[in-house]
Amino acid sequence: MSIPSQRQGATSPPERGRELLARKWSYLLSGAVVVALDRNELDREMRDRLDDLCAAVHAEASPGSPSPRSAERIGEQLVALGYVTEDGLRVTLDVLGKGLLGLPEFQPVERHAQSVVAVLGALSSGFLAASRRAVFEQQESMQLSLLKAVRDAQWNLKESEARFEEVVTSSASGILVVDLTGRIVRANAAIGDILGYTTEELTGLGLLDLVHPASVRGLGEAMLALLDDPHEDAQGGSRADRQERVRQPQRLLRKDGDVARISLTMSLLRGADDQPVHFVAVIEDGTELMLLQSELNRQALHDVSTGLPNRQYFTTHLESALRRADPVRGISVFHLDVDAFGMVCNSLGRPTGERLLVHVSQRLKAVLAREKAMIARFDGDEFAILVENAAGTPDVATTVAEINRELAEPVYFDDRGLAVSVSVGVVRRPPSDWAPAEVMRAAEQALRRAKAGGRGQWALFHDGQDADERRADALAVAMPGAWEHGEIGVRYRPVVELAGRALVAVEAVLHWDRGDDSLDHAGCTAPAERTGLILPLGEWHLATACGQVRWWGQSAGLTASLRVGLTRNQSRDGDLVRRVRRVLDDTGLPASRLTVGMPVAVLAEPEAVDNLTVLAELGVGTSLDDFGLGPDDLAVAAELPIGSVRVARRLVERQARGEAEHLAGLVPLARRAAARVLVDGLETREQADWWRAAGVVAGTGPFFGDPLPAGAFHDPIEWYD
């Protein structure tokens, strides 16, 4: 068994990951359970348990030494913390199911997923067993307390009947009061129910007549032992030696002749003079039943083949999630339908279909592993997901795209590779006063619309959003389809030297041809930013443009470089560097011939700063766009490896309106920070001349030509050259 060393200095990555996860576990537990520990103690406790768990996962992974016992013990230790209940288990499985697979030591996920699942399974079974014992113990101690309460009341049948009743009737357990001759003088309704008698019928019967013949002797002896007072027959005996009670598993005879298996606790009631007065027997058969009931409940709430919650459970969960949702971020509900599932079943059989659904359920879990989400299986091939949105929750489009990407990877059943897609209806941020049924109806309605659009599509439910948001959503939703159908293209416009009018660069921008109208670059990037489509779309944009410029270089001798503006999300995308390198490798365009522009405002974020710095090191040109609008812009330009800055279009418009006083001063300051200053949005010769005089080297804008498709742009290349 090899366990990587786990305690080497507080900052080593596995330590840090575990520390965070343990704290999250402790934090979530503390909100769901009642424990005796204070916060710090609980933090430490959970940290220890997490180390145990990680060790168990490592052990599980190493062949030949599975140790489910250790994980079961962790489940037991959880129960021992206090009142941990099913909420505690749910929180634990939620946080660990996602968190363990997020730890660096368990990467890649595929290799460790099985071990993690096995360990969490063992933890659950240890938890269940311990929890069951705890319930037994607590119930048993309550029976004892009940018995004691009866005794402590110094029960006197005539004087305090009411007092006795209070104790007796509040019990779900059967209670019999028996006189010293064994005759029942008192019975409560619960024992009547157990035995099928009325309490009146029981009164007057002999207790031993109700006992199965095989056990009569044992019970009779026990009753005699209770009566047997060491005071009277043994000189050295003390009160402590006196037997207080007996507890036996027993078989009682029901009125209908059946046997009731119960557990019977009998004790002796003594009067004020310490003389025996009556026996009292507490009879319970409820605990087993109760546990059985909870198992039945669990089964009733889960789908058997995938183990996911079913519709009923999901709806209940949705109700509470709606209530406690973050008022700003809200929740998202996805209703998914596996495309062409009928076809799979028809051609490969229903069992394969079921296996496919199990596979889908696992993929869904993987995609949503980082979110607070419930995934449920509805009827047939339908699934539902409820995501409680948090700060880092990806937008709907990204999530759907991620799901379909995961599912597009073929899975093999009996050597047949199957790849599936899902259609998805989404309700984003439903109002918290909606009933769960309304939300589900809305999701279903959206699903129907999505399916009308073909396979692998998704649609948002729209009611209650304002018209603008709806329009923007409509654009965002239509965009992937439009992109696929070639309606979104790349166009090119010249970046021109203001002094000599030479072509210094070609800027590639997006253009969406919508038949009657069209959207320019900003019109394309805004909805794509909303949905996250910008990341794949942006990479395509870059790749298309790089390929085109390389071709122009080969075919027309173009030497000018390519300029591509990135959006905010692209600029801080953790994958940006990888994407750019991949495009440059694929297209063969030298890094030095590409310049990327980032909105200067995004450079307040460290991810964007990292991206820009690394790209500059790779030799890619860097530019700050929308420059001059923020107070820190100059500082950013001075601190980072910037090749050029491009003054914001809004400032150019302001200059055109004659509000130019301090603008002239901006350019020299910017030139001190970055070598070259450009402007965007030039419309007239006057503007071009003014900015040239102010010190700007080059510019873009309608004055030098609108963006054109690649085929039409050929002329400007020649014209400017």
Partner: protein
């Protein structure tokens, strides 16, 4: 065992108990079917009430640790209920070994259970008595044996005073206890209020009424609860939502804002 007056309830109905229902709300199994039924009914009218119960229990731990920090070594917990997780003597004796605790409850089953649990602990005992009878509590064998009334005592009345109707004059009753305490003693109170929520709360209190429990809730306002601290100086942060009294971590606060404001909590120091 002190013989005291406690109210026998109706004779032939199932009677849930406050103490056992509270245990159920906390996630315990120290309860019977009628208690669980009542718990479910209340929870269905006020979703999240479990959290309010949990938050109150967390307050208990904080307030006992606070009092121990102030030098208190003896406690009188009136309305202690079913011993569950993190009981006063466990918290106190963990913080300062030798702390002495007297529990008081009027529920015979809760008392019997406490008695069983405390067997063998010489520093803690339970008294079966009603809060409305201060003499039987202050004069009980357990109190006389374990509590030194010349030294500060931490008195806890958690989720208890709202079961005392106005006719019984809870303010005057609290004053009787106060008068028996040495200066420097502390009083901790948590008390249900309708100040911040009314609709659901009415439904929940109705559910308790319909259950025929001998105990009925008396919601009181911030001002009325504050009056109970007559003769005590409220320590910071005063009488506030239970979750807001010196929370030590996120688990001390319920995620539903309403549930933090359902119960006021305050701690006073006798001047």
């Amino acid at each position: 065992m002190v013989q005291s007056e406690w109210i026998p309830s109706g004779v032939d109905i199932s009677v849930p108990s406050v103490a056992r229902t509270y245990d159920y709300m906390l996630g315990g199994a120290h309860n019977f079917a009628v208690d669980r039924a009542l718990g479910e009914r209340i929870e269905s009218t006020m979703p999240g009430l479990r959290n309010a119960a949990r938050v109150n229990r967390a307050f208990l731990g904080r307030v006992v640790r606070f009092m121990v920090d102030q030098g208190v070594r003896q406690f009188l917990d009136i309305g202690s209920g079913i011993p569950t997780v993190g009981n006063v003597h466990e918290v106190a004796q963990a913080a300062a070994p030798g702390c002495r605790v007297v529990y008081v409850d009027r529920d015979p089953v809760a008392v019997a259970h406490s008695d069983l649990m405390l067997a063998g602990n010489d520093d803690a005992a339970v008294v079966h008595a009603d809060m409305r009878d201060p003499d039987s509590i202050l004069g009980s064998d357990a109190a006389r044996r374990l509590l030194d009334f010349d030294q500060p005592i931490g008195v806890l009345m958690l989720l208890m005073l709202h079961w005392v109707p106005d006719e019984a004059d809870p303010r005057a009753l609290v004053a009787r206890y106060r008068d028996a305490l040495a200066p420097g003693s502390y009083l901790a109170v948590t008390h249900a209020t309708g100040d911040n929520q009314s609709d659901n709360l009415t439904e929940a209190t109705d559910a308790i009424k319909r259950s025929n429990s001998p105990d009925q809730v008396n919601l009181r306002s911030h001002a009325a609860i504050k009056e109970m601290f007559d003769g005590f100086e409220l320590v910071e942060p005063g009488l506030v939502g239970c979750g807001e009294w010196r929370p030590g971590g996120p688990g001390d606060i319920a995620s539903e804002p309403d549930m933090n404001m359902l119960v006021y909590a305050g701690v006073g120091r006798k001047v």
